[in-house]
């Protein structure tokens, strides 16, 4: 989420003035001197965030009779987890060398306490961590805005999972639900006990079973055997990100930061080491690797966490990417007997072996494979395996004749370090698509021009072109374009730069270029569909349209800045980008991807058109479908930005 421009952050709407809060004087909440006409004098003593300073003295002290609830809420909300982050010091203490607590606490205050919020951060403006700014001209909103407030802070995990930046997104999001539909005021405003062991111990915390009642005796056979023994998310979550080795420091301008050294998308089931938490009597639960590590505050001092082994680093998690049908639950033996899905000693790093002894699942506790279970009927014989290569293959075949390696990240990332011998080629900056001011923004320019650009980069249509980036988005878009332009042999480097490093190979900062060549490819126009074709095929039900945008776009909650309106092509199926590419550009197995598509009724026998806002994410989905062996896949190049301008059909979903 981009920060607001400074003036927009504090722009009050006229609508606000006619609300109950707008009838109070500005000073009554913020102080300052409203009689003064110069900025410095008027702002003297002014508190821009009165509810952070003191919820009780601001919102909780309102004399208006209608605000009686405010007083009750402020009395508990001042001690809520959002306001105090009280579990942070508790957990740090349990790992700490208490003789150095002052140092640890100073680091905590500098780097870990920016996330807290109070009344205003949920009901008026973006929280401080999200760089502030009114949501709607200082209007007070009874319910927080999921996009601008909740996920402005809970973004990189929860927000990305919920809206489909990572995985297929959450079924609750697809149904139009907001954060507050599950996380109600009682939970948000609840006072946390000072010695609360962790956030899941808050008795007001929402449980799946608050809505999904009587599961054990319902119609789902798996529920009868699993409810109470297995956390709901074990069966209903998708893969999620695990963070490693957080370290803190200050940048060149003295601003504090924290940074994870590695993030990995995976899924692990652990033993429940904390079954005293409300509703957590089960034996197995999903566990996420938290970024804590013994040297995380080394910037401040040495030997700060001498009791690091006291608390697990694989902790209970509740990913926000719930789906009714998931790969691990698609077949009993995807889970039962699948050692790789359960946390093992081998998954632990040296510094965390002691910490996770209660979490790892010993072989004896592994659910046994179920006999006589029929395997899923997934045909992987059509998969074009050569379209994806791994780091080891690339390393071993680097000197192969006609092999061209392309780094599709932006130039600054290339300059910081790239695979030695790779050519920098940022598809966004190479004139391959029309500009934002064009009549049809972002559509591909004509083939002659594209061939010219490719030739100048030293690529010929008959070369074997391997492309990589950071997360798949640019690499796959470029690979799709190469296929359209007539390249005959293209491959995606699985895992991109991260995969290369993880395999133990080095990078270089030495730029590399290739001599100009004649591209000489024959354009494959059948790989692209215009809007008229998309509309015609949809009308005759001759094609499936995959919309690979995020869920909030498809629901019409947000729109691309160049789109005329929010919405989606009627009849399209939303499968967000994150369903196709994992964190850092790794791909799930072809069998899993084919199964996932099948759950939407999308099988290789169908004509598939991929669409998005600008054609970019659509190209990414296109590449995966081609890799999986779909014979008739086309990119809707004109995409929503053009469709919304030129065609009347297109709905704004609830």
């Amino acid at each position: 989420m981009a920060p607001l421009e400074p003036q927009k952050k504090v722009l009050v709407s006229r609508e606000f003035l006619s609300t109950a809060h707008g009838r109070n004087s500005c000073e009554s909440c913020h102080g300052g001197d409203s009689a003064r006409m110069n900025k410095a004098a008027a702002h003297k003593g002014m508190d821009p965030f009165p509810s952070i300073t003191s919820p009780q003295k601001s919102c909780g002290s309102c004399k208006d009779m209608r605000a009686v609830k405010h007083r009750e809420i402020a009395a508990t909300a001042k001690d809520s987890l959002h306001a105090t982050l009280s579990t942070f010091p508790e957990i740090l203490k349990s790992r700490a060398n208490m003789g150095k607590w002052k140092t640890i606490d100073q680091a905590r205050k500098n780097h870990c306490s920016a996330c807290h919020t109070s009344c205003g951060g949920c009901h008026v403006s973006r929280p401080k961590f999200a760089q502030k700014g009114f949501i709607q001209g200082h209007m007070f909103k009874k319910r927080p805005d999921s996009l601008n407030q909740c996920t402005a802070c809970h973004g990189s995990r929860v927000g990305n999972e919920f809206f489909g930046q990572r995985g297929r997104g959450d079924v609750h999001a697809s149904k139009g639900m907001e954060c507050f539909n599950c996380h109600k005021a009682e939970e948000m405003h609840a006072a946390a006990a000072k010695d609360l062991k962790g956030r899941y111990h808050l008795k007001e915390t929402v449980q799946c079973t608050d809505c999904h009642k009587n599961l054990k005796n319902g119609g789902v056979r798996s529920h009868a055997t699993h409810v109470g023994k297995v956390q709901c998310q074990v069966c209903h979550s998708q893969t999620y990100v695990n963070c490693y080795s957080c370290h803190v420091g200050k940048d060149g301008e003295g601003r504090a930061f924290f940074q994870n050294r590695r993030e990995v998308e995976t899924m692990k089931i652990g033993l429940n080491y904390d079954n005293k938490a409300p509703g957590a009597g089960y034996q197995y639960m999903l566990v996420r690797h938290v970024p804590a590590y013994p040297e995380m505050f080394e910037f401040y001092g040495k030997d700060l966490f001498t009791n690091f082994g006291n608390v697990p680093t694989w902790k209970r998690t509740s990913p926000h990417n719930i789906q009714r049908r998931t790969w691990q639950a698609a077949n009993c033996n995807h889970c039962h007997g699948n050692r790789g899905l359960f946390l093992a000693s081998a998954d632990l790093l040296d510094y965390e072996k002691k910490a996770n002894q209660k979490v790892i699942v010993p072989d004896g506790s592994l659910p046994k494979a179920v006999a006589n279970i029929k395997k899923l009927d997934i045909d992987t014989t059509r998969v074009r395996n050569g379209m994806v290569v791994n780091a080891r293959w690339l390393h071993d075949n680097f000197r192969q004749k006609n092999l061209v390696v392309i780094d599709a990240r932006d130039r600054s990332a290339y300059d910081k370090g790239h695979i030695e011998g790779a050519v920098s080629f940022d598809p966004l900056m190479s004139g391959l698509r029309a500009g934002p001011g064009a009549e049809k923004p972002f559509v591909l320019v004509d083939h002659k021009k594209v061939a010219e650009v490719l030739g100048k980069k030293g690529i010929a249509a008959t070369d074997h072109v391997v492309v990589y980036d950071q997360n798949g988005a640019m690499a796959a878009a470029l690979l799709s374009l190469l296929q359209w332009a007539g390249a005959t042999h293209v491959s995606y480097l699985n895992g991109g730069m991260e995969g290369w490093h993880h395999a133990g190979f080095h990078s270089s900062t030495k730029p590399y270029t290739r001599g100009e060549r004649l591209f000489n490819g024959t354009v494959k126009r059948e790989l692209v569909a215009d809007s008229a074709t998309v509309a015609r095929l949809l009308k005759t039900r001759s094609a499936v349209v995959i919309d690979s945008r995020l869920i909030d776009r498809v629901l019409g909650k947000t729109k691309h800045e160049l789109a005329s309106r929010a919405g989606a092509i009627p009849g399209s199926i939303n499968i967000p980008f994150g369903a196709f590419y994992m964190e850092n550009g790794f791909l799930k197995s072809p069998a899993e991807l084919l199964w996932m598509l099948k759950t939407y009724g999308i099988t290789p026998g169908k004509t598939v058109i991929t669409t998005c806002d600008t054609g970019l994410a659509a190209s990414d989905a296109f590449f995966i479908l081609r890799y999986l062996g779909f014979p008739d896949v086309r990119v809707h190049e004109e995409a929503w930005v053009v469709w919304s301008k030129t065609r009347k059909i297109g709905i704004k979903r609830p």
Binding site: L11, V12, R23, R36, S156, F257, Q259
Partner: protein
């Protein structure tokens, strides 16, 4: 009560009434009449008066939960 005294009370009551009548809308419309809104209702005024703010979040910062 002397006539002059009565007139005096009436005059004071009238004055209090006038003052109260004048003050009431001022209280009711306090936010609207605040000098704060001389700027905060108008984007152009905010642009004109804004100070140079340095970003308070480091570019090296990882995302949060």
């Amino acid at each position: 009560m002397k006539r002059g005294q009565r007139l005096c009370y009436i005059a004071i009551a009238a004055l209090v009434g006038l003052l109260a009548g004048g003050l009431f809308p001022a209280v009711a419309l306090a936010a609207e009449q605040s000098s704060c809104l001389t700027c905060h209702l108008y984007e152009s005024m905010l642009v004109k008066n804004r100070s140079v703010a340095t970003p308070n979040v480091s570019a090296m910062q990882s995302g949060s939960g």
